[in-house]
């Protein structure tokens, strides 16, 4: 029964015959594809099979040639045996020009950190791993491909070559780079603008926060809990209901929302945040996800409040300026008549003391209006050269009153102190502000020391100690024995509206104004303070080498004159007291109540030497307008303005530059006399020099 292929048994022969018959039958019915030629040991394909084979080869070729991947076959030495059309396109060669060349000839320079040639070799030896490799195009440019190789096996025993599949990822990489660049830019913008980003998944009840957002809530990066519950828990308890309501409303409407809420930091501080957000709805209108941005607006809110405060102050200032004008007129009358009466009284008159008290009260009122005007920046700045010691001495009495009985005032004044050039009233203001500040630092009492000395700053100390140009300075320092200041307070000390006092006690403007005044004078205020050990504020002012201007009082002897003065003043009381003062100094006076009247008198040929006019006049023509008119027709006439403040200093400037002067209201007989004399003398000096030339 069992037949082996070599036997010649009957069964075997019979089977061979049957097989032969079946073979012929199959051949005749066209069921045979190939015949094996036993002699040549090679198969012979029948025609129909050849067609089929060709068809299938064509099919494969079509697949290979239309593939969007590059296909590259290599022999065992990695020389090119075939490239498809796509690969030839990628590299910019004709396909046949690549045949026979080593694949390594087409390696680019670098692939990331690696040498492209080495990486290409490595990936050919490590089949089935994908690698990003740079290849060089015919034109020298590089392209980036994703490369995967696999050995081609004709028989089990040996590799006959390598099949390489390549995908061009240059565009993909470029797009990824662009995306990365866009992301980097966006992240940078969000970081720099300090914008926090959140997103929430309402289905899983999870949330993500960016590091900026965590920072806005005072959290360290990565410490936000990651749930909606944690999200809500970081919001100020009073704002939670509103936030939840807003997000819920947006979840129903699908509309963008914006809101403000407070965040409580772990250190207890409260920060204001604004949020813009959006809720994405599902197919049935249910909220799926939310995203939003958040910004810390604490500083902006503070600035807005400061701005409002500043506007309020400006309004107060304007009001003060208006009141001060009328007030100054009243003070002029009070002081003027008191002085005139005092001048006529015998030295031993019993009412002299009473009148001195009236003057003292009026002087106090004068400094009050000056302070009001300082707020509204309508104070007239009149730089002069003077000894700061004089100012300290003059203000001492007022300072003692200001600081009260529990605080001792000590002055240590350098008798050889240099002069400074600035507005004397402003220095007075600075001293008052600093001393008041010291007093407030010592609620239980203590000592305020005002000290003056000369200082020479060399290059080094000027730069490091005081932020000044090297040179000679005078230093006026105010020290207290009070509570001292923290470095935080010191850093903000001169900021406008920064105050450590209760909101109704300090304006926060005193030190800021002082700082501005000193800076304007080319100086600097240095602060030296240790918490619990008192503070010293040192005012550096550039030393002036000019000669001291005549100090008030010493000029009284030279303030007299006999010239004819035309006085224009709309306030009857002021007009009368001013007339009285001028007459007591020997001048002749014609006074009128309006600019129009003055012009008429001048046109009628009245010959006066000085026009003294108030800046603010009731009626059509104010002081400056009158003076311009007068200047045009009578250019040689001397002009003196009287003013308590100047809200329109710019309109006056050209007049002041061309020789007119201002006497500040309320004036005393002394200050008026000095100014009148000065203007008249300057004019006659100019006349004389014109006559000489």
């Amino acid at each position: 029964m069992i037949a082996t292929s070599g036997s010649r048994s009957f069964d075997d022969v019979a089977r061979r015959l049957e097989e032969a018959e079946a073979t012929i039958e199959a051949l005749l019915s066209g069921q045979i594809d190939a015949v094996l030629d036993a002699d040549s040991k090679s198969p012979v394909l029948l025609a129909s099979a050849q067609d089929a084979l060709r068809h299938s080869e064509e099919r494969y070729r079509t697949i290979v040639e239309t593939a969007s991947e590059g296909i590259w076959t290599l022999d065992e030495n990695f020389n090119t045996t075939f490239v498809n059309r796509r690969l030839a396109e990628m590299l910019g060669y004709r396909a046949d020009a690549m045949i026979g060349r080593s694949v390594l000839d087409f390696a680019g320079k670098r692939s990331g950190a690696s040498d492209a040639r080495l990486l290409l070799q490595y990936s050919l030896h490590n089949a089935s791993e994908e690698h990003e490799v740079a290849l060089a195009r015919n034109d020298g440019s590089e392209l980036c491909v994703l490369l995967k190789s696999s050995p081609i096996r004709q028989s089990a025993s040996q590799d006959d070559g390598t099949l390489v599949m390549l995908t061009d990822i240059t565009e993909r990489k470029r797009a990824a780079e662009r995306l990365q660049a866009f992301e980097d830019r966006t992240r940078f913008a969000l970081e720099v603008a300090n914008v926090g980003v959140w997103d929430a998944d309402f289905v899983t009840e999870t949330a993500r926060w960016s590091e900026q957002l965590e920072a806005q809530y005072g959290l360290k990066p990565g410490t936000f809990g990651g749930t909606l519950e944690a999200f809500i828990s970081h919001i100020h308890p009073e704002d939670r209901a509103e936030v939840i309501e807003k997000i819920a409303a947006a979840g129903e409407s699908g509309l963008d929302f914006s809101m403000s809420n407070r965040a409580i930091w772990p250190d207890g501080s409260v920060h204001w945040l604004t949020n813009q957000g959006r809720v994405e709805l599902g197919a049935h209108g249910e909220p799926l996800r939310g995203t939003g941005i958040s910004q810390d607006v604490t500083e902006r809110r503070a600035l807005e409040q400061q701005f409002q405060q500043a506007q309020k102050m400006e309004a107060v200032g304007r009001l003060a300026g208006g009141v001060a004008h009328d007030f100054n007129n009243l003070l002029s009358v009070i002081m003027g008549w008191t002085e005139l009466v005092l001048a006529d009284l015998p030295a031993d008159s019993p009412i002299r003391d009473s009148l001195d008290e009236v003057l003292r009260a009026a002087a106090g009122a004068t400094s009050l209006t000056k302070q009001l005007l300082a707020f509204s920046r309508q104070q007239i700045v009149k730089p002069s050269v003077f000894d700061p010691n004089d100012v300290v001495v003059e203000t001492q009495k007022m300072l003692r009153r200001l600081i009260g009985e529990d605080v001792k005032l000590v002055t240590r004044l350098d008798p050889g102190l240099g002069r400074v050039k600035m507005d004397q009233g402003q220095l007075e203001q600075v001293i008052v502000n600093l001393v008041v500040n010291s007093r407030d630092a010592m609620p239980m009492g203590g000592t305020v020391t005002v000290e003056t000395k000369n200082v020479a700053l060399d290059r080094e100390s000027a730069r490091t100690a005081a932020d000044l140009a090297p040179g000679d300075y005078i230093v006026l320092s105010v020290s207290d024995t009070g509570s001292g200041m923290s470095t935080e307070v010191q850093a903000r000390l001169f900021e406008p509206f920064f105050t450590t006092k209760e909101s109704n006690k300090g304006t926060g403007l005193g030190l800021a104004t002082s700082y501005g005044i000193v800076k304007q004078a080319g100086g600097h205020i240095a602060v030296d303070s240790t918490q619990g050990a008192g503070s010293t504020m040192s005012v550096f002012l550039p030393r002036s080498m000019a000669i001291t201007d005549p100090s008030p009082g010493t000029a009284a002897a030279t303030s007299r004159g006999t010239e004819l003065v035309l006085l224009v003043e709309d306030d009857l009381a002021v007009r009368r007291v001013t007339t009285g003062m001028l007459k007591s100094m020997g001048y002749s006076v014609i006074s009128v109540g309006s600019g129009e009247e003055a012009l008429k008198l001048l046109s009628d040929g009245l010959n006066v030497q000085l026009l003294l006019t108030d800046v603010v006049l009731a009626g059509g023509m104010n002081g400056p307008a009158l003076v311009r008119e007068v200047r045009a027709q009578w250019p040689r006439l001397s002009v003196l303005f009287a003013s308590g403040y100047t809200s329109d200093a710019a309109s006056l400037r050209d007049l002041l530059d061309s020789g007119a002067e201002i006497v500040e209201k309320p004036f005393t007989a002394n200050s008026l006399g000095r100014s009148v004399r000065h203007v008249l003398d300057a004019r006659s000096e100019a006349e004389r020099s014109r006559a000489r030339s």
Binding site: E19, A26, V35, P43, L45, A49
Partner: protein
């Protein structure tokens, strides 16, 4: 596959074909269908391409393709052609 070949009662077949020639493809499809239908539990079908392995064909005394060899159970049986006649093929495969 290995576990099936250990079982001596299993059907072991070897089909010689010529690449993707039409009768060869038909024979492959027919052989698979018959095996799945009648011997699904235990069979082994090896497909050998004459064009790739002419020497193996010579060793198996193959003259034309497609040729289906029944290697097990013995005796060896041969079915010539594209196996379109399923009944004849089945008879030859199950016969002695």
């Amino acid at each position: 596959m290995a576990s099936r070949s250990e079982n001596s009662s299993n059907l072991r077949l070897r089909l010689y074909v010529a690449g993707n020639a039409p009768n060869s493809l038909r024979a492959i499809a027919n052989a698979r269908a018959i095996c799945e239908q009648h011997f699904a539990a235990a069979y082994e079908l090896e497909i050998v391409d004459l064009l790739e392995h002419p020497l193996r064909a010579l060793a198996d005394a193959i003259v034309v393709t497609p040729t289906l060899l029944r290697l097990m159970p013995l005796p060896v049986q041969r079915v010539i052609g594209n196996l379109d006649d399923g009944t004849k093929t089945l008879m030859l495969l199950t016969g002695r």
